[in-house]
Amino acid sequence: MRRQLVIATLTALAAFAASVRAQDPGVSVVDFDKKKGGSQKIHELGHVVAHDGAWKAADVELEQDRNRPYAYLCGFVNFDFTIYDLSNPSAPKQLFRWQIDNPELHRGIGAMDGKYFKINGRYYYAQSLQFMQGTPDADLGAVIFDVTGLPDPSKVKEVARIRYPQSPGGFHNTFAYKHSDGRALYFATINQSKALVYDLEKIVKGADPATALVGEVPNPTPFRQIGGGGYHDFYVGYDPATGQDKFYGAGLGGYSVWDVTKPETPKQLFTITSLGMDVAHTFTPSPDGRYAVTETEYQYTPLRIWDLEAGQSGKTQNVDIPISAWTADWRDLSHNHEVRWPYVFVSAYEDGLQVFNLKDPKHPVTEGHFYTCGCEHEHGFGGNPDNGWQSTTSVEQGAFGVDVRNYDGLVVLSDMRSGFWVFKMDGFTGWNGHDYNMPNISSVQDWDHGPEKAKPKVTSE
């Protein structure tokens, strides 16, 4: 009887280990050459290699309206972006590709981040770009396209370019946000210790970008060893509890949260700084702002989970101890992520798509994975254009960006090595925060109505 119990227990553990292969406590790592395929819950629907060269893609963006099944793949060092029609998710159809003029004369990391937005019934796509000083377009941050006419590619029109010559090097990451005051805003990183905030309606109407620049958010956590440093990435979301629009920035030196209800005059709320936080990369809160997931961009570091209550309530100016952490494989590095509480969808570089669950924020649990990189460990992105951006130490390769379509749960992922992927996860048929007793707030914007206000403002007589 006892022997049968032991066998049954071992069998159950083996089954658990087979389905959960990330580095949850007690789970061993997977040999690098065995990182193929996925777990039972994650299903590959489609895959497009996208480019011929060694580097295929940077970030990826999904439109969210039911009648617009379009995805945007940033072409990274190919200096382009591609629009796919996902009417049939198993067979993504390329509709349109744009590339910078004279690509052979440009040098840099190129097309990095893309965001779509909607103004007055028209849809737009903003492609961020980064070119080196000394080559063309070093001052070019983003190119804006009117994509209302999709799927007809002939109706895709460039409508604006945002240049910021004060700081050559372009925009690395961006965030398009429907502000509670009704404006569509575009937050952008630059090579200075601040983020820029543009009014997108002014941009698409042809205003000089200098006049459409409505705000700047300083980085209050400069990397002291180098005397400065800007933001790397950010998230902007509405906080129904306080009625504030909040900016969650990750930059050199740490993380910071700002009240951007009036983006012209941002107000600092609190920071996250601590040992090991200097290379802060990504910062995504839960829908209610209580918890957050952060990434720091160096090998071996996990994603950290934070309880922000003390900072959000004003009890402290700085939070410095995470409540938990999660990693796909301690030897690697997980990159960008999208929070659809309690799920966190991670583009985990060499470890492909990973999904973990924060139902208990102190004990993250892996939900599933799909390896997409098919690459040699520590042969990632690095160096310079002359050596093909090839490193022999970097783990920065593989899954770069991820996005989730809220109305049906479709997941798209961009892989630097293998291109564009489409997935579904069992049991995840869409996301609305109300299903989890949360505000319906994520990176997805309600461009027609603005952020959901759980507590409508009451005006007194």
Binding site: E104, H172, H232, E297
Partner: protein, 154 residues
């Protein structure tokens, strides 16, 4: 690291403040080259234009260029001095494998571009780029703009 890569690294390292490393394109993967800026002939030690721009001749060393006709309806390679916004293209002269001197270029910051053209005498650029590089003056940039200090790309 292979011997050829090591030599390439050494070549970059030994480039001086008047040298331009030329980069090939997918059309001409075997082409290599470098350029050195030398002050144009002048009764003074430094040649400048009337409005104060440095005036350079360009000494080119190029190898691996295929016959222009292999790229299409082209008969010659022409060197151009180009402003970094690509709005001004100034013809510098014809180029072939080996060493040659072309000029003059009188921009503060510029790109040196070699393109296949339909005729050796063209005065307007139209053909495909086969080699390009940036002037050393373009390397000057803010300390914070260095990728190492940008939050670590990507």
């Amino acid at each position: 690291m292979s011997l050829s890569k090591a030599l390439a690294v050494i070549a970059v390292v030994v480039l001086g403040p008047y040298d331009i490393q030329l980069h090939n394109t997918p059309r001409t993967p075997n082409a290599h080259g470098a350029a050195r800026l030398v002050f144009a002939e002048s009764p003074f030690g430094v040649a400048v234009t009337a409005d104060g721009h440095a005036s350079y001749d360009v000494q080119l060393t190029v190898s691996g260029l295929p016959e222009p006709a292999t790229l299409g309806a082209y008969k010659a390679y022409v060197a151009w001095g180009v402003t970094t916004d690509l709005k001004q293209w100034r013809r510098l002269g014809t180029v072939a494998n080996g060493s040659s001197t072309v000029g003059r270029v009188e921009y503060n910051k510029f790109m040196l571009v070699i393109a296949a053209e339909s005729d050796s005498a063209v005065v307007k650029h139209a053909g495909p780029v086969v080699l390009s590089g940036t002037s050393p003056s373009s390397f000057l940039q803010m300390f914070l703009a260095h990728p190492m200090f940008r939050g670590v790309a990507p």
